[in-house]
């Protein structure tokens, strides 16, 4: 489904990704782990098409189509979904209006009829329950005044509504307490499907207890330096990272978070 070959990307002239290779097939769940500053968020943003990042080399294809030629909104319509590490607050645009506009943009792209307000409200309420978000949040401004956990649940809500082909979860577990982590993980697990791939980007192993990936990759210094299939040692790799940190792999865990990616 997704194929990344020798991807180099930079921000403000500084190279962050230095030759990423990654193949993700439909139905698979991949976890990318790595220290702060390794380029995890950059990779997510590049996939979603944030033009603050410049792709200098390499290629990305989605089901054979060149993703790099598409605008952000076109990628979304082709099925790329990025759950943001820091979802944006947009006062003045109601969450409901935002979600409905997005769903209808997708439906229009697929040649389906738009959903009217009543139909959509019904659907949105159902999915809200699924991620344990009070439907009252639908009436508020997009993420406006939401807690960290509520923002993350709102991201998963969007993924469930938009039914992407490839869902990229950027540090979706960060800032969640154990109950919220469970809710979010259940939501992600509900997304798992044979025709859908999931790419999880995370600093910590704990998310992997709830969402068991098929592959674990370690990203460091802008490259994937280790990949394991979960059935043959991937789990152990993740646990080892959790216990020993990233140092034993010869990687420096840069305390400077990759803030440029946010």
């Amino acid at each position: 489904m997704l194929s990344i070959k020798n991807l180099h990307a930079s921000v403000e002239g500084k190279e962050i990704l230095k030759g990423i290779n990654l193949e993700i097939k439909a139905g698979e769940v991949h976890a990318i782990m790595g220290p702060n500053g390794s380029g995890k968020s950059t990779l997510s943003q590049v996939l979603a098409g944030n033009d603050a990042f410049e792709v200098t080399e390499g290629e990305i294809t989605l089901n054979g189509d060149n993703l790099l030629e598409l605008e952000t909104e076109e990628r979304a319509r082709e099925g790329i979904f990025l759950a943001f590490q820091y979802p944006v607050e947009i006062p003045g645009v109601s969450n409901l209006q935002f979600l409905r506009t997005a769903v209808n943009a997708m439906r229009q792209h697929k040649g389906q009829d738009e959903m009217n307000a009543a139909e959509f409200m019904k659907l949105a309420r159902e999915v809200s329950k699924q991620v344990d978000l009070d439907p009252a949040f639908l009436k508020r401004g997009v993420n406006e005044g939401f807690s960290g956990g509520e923002k993350k649940r709102n991201e998963i809500l969007q993924a469930l509504l938009l039914q992407p082909k490839l869902a990229i979860l950027d540090e979706t577990d960060s800032g969640l307490d154990i109950d919220a982590l469970k809710v979010v993980s259940d939501g992600v697990n509900a997304l798992r499907a044979e025709d859908r791939a999931i790419l999880m980007v995370t600093h910590y192993q704990r998310l992997l207890n709830h969402i068991v990936p098929d592959y674990v990759h370690v990203l460091a210094g802008g490259k994937i330096i280790k990949s394991k299939i979960i059935k043959s040692g991937g789990r152990e790799l993740a646990l080892e990272l959790e216990e020993r940190g990233y140092g034993w792999l010869g990687i420096k865990d840069e305390e400077t978070a990759d803030s440029s990616a946010n």
């Binding site: 952000t72 990628r75 944006v88």
Partner: protein, 428 residues
């Protein structure tokens, strides 16, 4: 030194002689006072940004004939009054006889009523500050007098449509005077529209005399075309514990100017002034507001938002004057501005003059652009760029639009703003 330009004498000849004698006399007197009136220039502080857009050529001095048909573009329930080129059109008016409420054209007033009105016209406005309102007083051909007796409540909004239409240049001078008795209530919607394409000017004055405990809601929609210079003044005089709420929504034009003056003269009076302005192309819009806190324990709350696209220009000047005796005044002024292009310009100036020592007075002004990160977030969900831009731009003013108390007006305004922004972002 070159002498300052003065108002052409062509402007000193009012048309329409069918007014009651006291009003004709008042008009004449005001006209005499305008002889040699200096015109605003770049050096006139409160016209600094707008004087160059003001075109008071002799062809503008002609009174537009009150001929033709008029029709509001607002299809809303409520009572209706229609003005065409500054003259009331009885056949297009619809309002019932209500107990305690009198709605009359100036032309229909008795000499006694007219004499009383003549004494009070201009009383709510500081005419020195609102220079152009003086021109209206010298030129109005008709007007609307609304009187509410104590406790009278108008049960539905009153829609006043001011239409200008012309095949040749000229001006219209609509005039409204609202006399709201103690504890009376009214919601007034003024809509300014135009048809035709000749270069015209609308010079309008609306006054509210608000007695103790009265409650006024005023909605003002500026929707005229690109051929119309609009210069409007609104004066509000508030007595004890009265409340005045204003919502103005303005679309730009070659010149749009609105002066809003509120004088809180009785203890415990409060006003809330909301304003939204959108401009595109080479349009110009200038809002000047003044709130006079004269009495103690009064509240004022003012929120204006400007959005300027292309090479347009918006101006906000908000003056708050807290007099020495106005202790425990509470004044809050906020002006936020959004520039949609590099060529657009917005000038904002808060002016606070405070002579009392026990007051709360807050003000804030910001100018910014659409947030790139918010835009990325929206498009990353498949929403088109144009639609995302429209959503974010609407978001900037939604808070104010949602406060418009008449649903039908609110929805119309939302629709028109949406349409305006869709045009604005067409190229994007």
């Amino acid at each position: 030194m070159k002498p300052a330009p003065t108002l052409s004498t062509a402007f000193l000849h009012p048309a329409g002689q069918s007014l009651p004698e006291p009003l004709l006399a008042l008009r004449k007197q005001r006209g005499t006072a305008l002889v040699d009136m200096p015109l605003p220039t770049r050096k006139t502080e409160n016209w600094k940004y707008s004087s160059k857009y003001l075109k008071l050529t002799d062809d503008m001095a002609i009174s537009l004939p009150a001929e033709g048909k008029t029709g509001s573009s607002l299809a809303v329930p409520g009572y209706k009054v229609a003005f065409l080129n500054g003259v009331m059109m009885p056949e297009a008016c619809e309002y019932p006889d209500l107990d305690g409420i009198s709605i009359k054209s100036f032309g229909d007033l008795s000499d006694e009523e007219a004499s009383d009105l003549a004494d009070r016209l201009d009383s709510t406005l500081d005419n020195k500050a609102v220079q152009m309102a003086r021109l209206n007083s010298a030129r109005f051909e008709d007007g609307l007098l609304i009187r509410l007796k104590p406790e009278a409540v108008l049960d539905q909004p009153l829609f006043i449509v001011h239409e200008v239409t012309a095949e040749a240049s000229g001006s219209a001078f609509p005039r409204i005077f609202v006399d709201a008795g103690r504890h009376s209530q009214i919601t007034l919607v003024e809509e300014y529209i135009s048809s035709g394409s000749a270069q015209v000017m609308v010079n309008t004055v609306t006054e509210f005399n608000v007695a103790d405990g009265a409650n006024i809601t005023s909605i003002r929609l500026n929707m005229e075309g690109e051929n119309v210079q609009h210069i409007g003044s609104t004066g509000v005089l508030q007595q004890r514990s009265s409340r005045f709420e204003s919502h103005t929504v303005g679309f730009g034009g070659p010149l749009r100017r609105h002066d809003l003056q509120v004088r809180l003269e009785g203890e415990g009076a409060e006003c809330k002034l909301n304003g939204v302005v959108v401009t595109q192309g080479t349009q110009h819009y200038d809002n000047h507001t003044t709130i006079e806190h004269v009495a103690p324990h009064c509240n004022s709350e003012e929120t204006y938002r400007n959005i300027a696209a292309d090479k347009s220009h918006a101006v906000f000047n908000g003056r708050i004057h807290i007099h020495q005796d106005a202790q425990k005044s509470n004044a809050d002024m906020n002006n936020k501005n959004l520039l949609l292009s590099n060529g657009a310009e917005i000038d904002t100036k808060p002016e606070l003059e405070i002579y009392a020592d026990d007051v709360k007075c807050a003000h804030g002004a910001t100018i910014g652009q659409l947030d790139e990160i918010s835009l990325f977030y929206l498009v990353s969900r498949g929403i088109g760029r144009r639609e995302a831009n429209v959503l974010l731009t609407m978001a900037f003013i939604n808070e104010l639009v949602e406060q418009i108390p008449v649903e039908a007006v609110r929805e119309t305004v939302q629709g028109r703003l949406n349409h305006f922004f869709e045009q604005t972002f067409q190229e994007a």
